[in-house]
Amino acid sequence: MEGVLAQTLASGLLIGFVYALVAVGLTMIFGVMDIVNFAHGEYLMISMYFSYWFFILFGMDPLYSLPAITLIMFGIGIITYYIAIRPIINAPMLSQIFVTFGLLIFLRGVAQFLWKVDYRMIPETLASGNINLAGIYIGRPQLVAAVGAILCYGVILWFLKNTKTGMALEAVAEDKEAARLMGINSNRMFALSWGIGIATVGIAGVLLSTFFYVFPEVGGAFCLIAFVVVALGGFGSVVGAFLAGIIVGLVEVVSGYLIDPSFKFMFVLALYLAVVFIRPQGLMGK
């Protein structure tokens, strides 16, 4: 029994890291621009496809194609900003939601057009297999993803806290006009936050592709969880998203095991509600 519980906790923790990794880009973009990117999951999907095709076409293992895909996704993020987001930067919140929602449908449509609706999966990667740790099985891909998540968070936090650009991002997030008066090019910062946000979800996609299937709507489920993670952690808080991702993973897996998997997501949502009733700004929000 204990072994099973330990296994459950370990599994929850691992998936929690993945959730955190998926969510970090969302919270970042929100933190800087106050925009909830509804299409976040679709970028995850796109990067999973990239990873898949790099594997199929060039035989590149996801772990090798990771840097290239991260860069490509960074570029895609910046392009997205200049084409779709910049025109609505001053529009009301709902119009912005509307545009990112349009992006969501657009990207799904493109994926469906290019790659059909089939489910695809990379059969075997460098990360495949599992490790048996004192009776606890840990999937190696999940482990790799978890390590990736931690590294990614480390880098982002360091970047935000210790670089001038990080500070500028914070300033732009608070008041973009005032930031301009400090000599900060707010547009460039916004573009950068999209670049980083999409690049991180790109990393998440590549790592996810080592153990999860991809199809044009794969983003949906992850995106919803990412929303909850971001809100639970506190919109805009990177540390919050990290904690919340782990909590959501644990709650989902443990409640699924101890209570009833049919209700596992309900427990996650109920947890969110419970937390914000006590702390309306989420765990770490401002």
Binding site: V36, P92, S95, V99, G102, I105, V117, A231
Partner: protein, 314 residues
Amino acid sequence: MKKGLVILLVFFAALVIYPFIFKNPFPRHLLIMIMLYGTMGIGWNIIGGYAGQVSFGNAAFFGVGAYTTAILLSKYGINPWIGMLLGCFFSSLVAVIVGYPCFRLRGHYFAIATIAVGEIVQILFTNWEYAGAAVGIYIPILEESFFNFQFHTTKLPYYYIVLAMLAFALLVCYAVEKSRLGYYFRAIKDDPEGARSLGINIQNYKLVAFILSAILTSVCGTFYAMYVLYIHPANTIDLWLSIHLCIIALIGGLGKIFGPVIGAFIFIPLTEFTRVYLGSEGQGIDLIIYALIIILLATLRPQGLWGIFAKSSS
């Protein structure tokens, strides 16, 4: 404004005559869906557009309305019209239970909370044996009559019922906008703290908006159940439904009485036609075109299309 009134009358006259010109069920169905979504869009607009509380959980009210009617009718033989009223009651109850704690939340926190509530309601219904769980409820087929809210040979009565619902929703919305409520809602949307300092109990007024919204949506749930005669959790309490309501209000114009009507008149045909004419090969082109239209609308007219219509009518 006189001219506006004339246009309104012409609009309704056209809606009344429409089924006599289009006798095929499909165009009638299309209009029924437009008006149904228009009604729900108005419901959404009251909480989301006027009071500024972006709800992605309105599908829960739709579901409660549909389920209340379906359960009462299929299990106890209770007349669907009574089911409609009770549906409103239960929806309002849900609105109060949910709204009371959630209205402390701001902006996106509230939006996500409403998603959570909608999803939780869906999960509950999916697992609730009594309500048919995932199988849902087949509504017993009764003799065709207005009393029974069932019509098998023609869509006409459904058409006029939903037309009446739309008119009712517009009236409610008009009454709200022109009264203190409407002003208060807008004030709360604009600056809740400021509103508080002027003696407005913002919690209560948000709740009033939510209840109105719930009632208008719940009525549509009942209608849907009686129209489709089969409901299950995935098609009645769906996050996408909530999102579509929001989009409809946005396309038309937030916080404008006619916004959602215009929104529905554009959105529903858009989805239908892209699907019918572009979707059947499953290549996603329909989605791409549809998405581009949405993005363009949001970018070029963030304030909604209402303005264009307003200009030409005044």
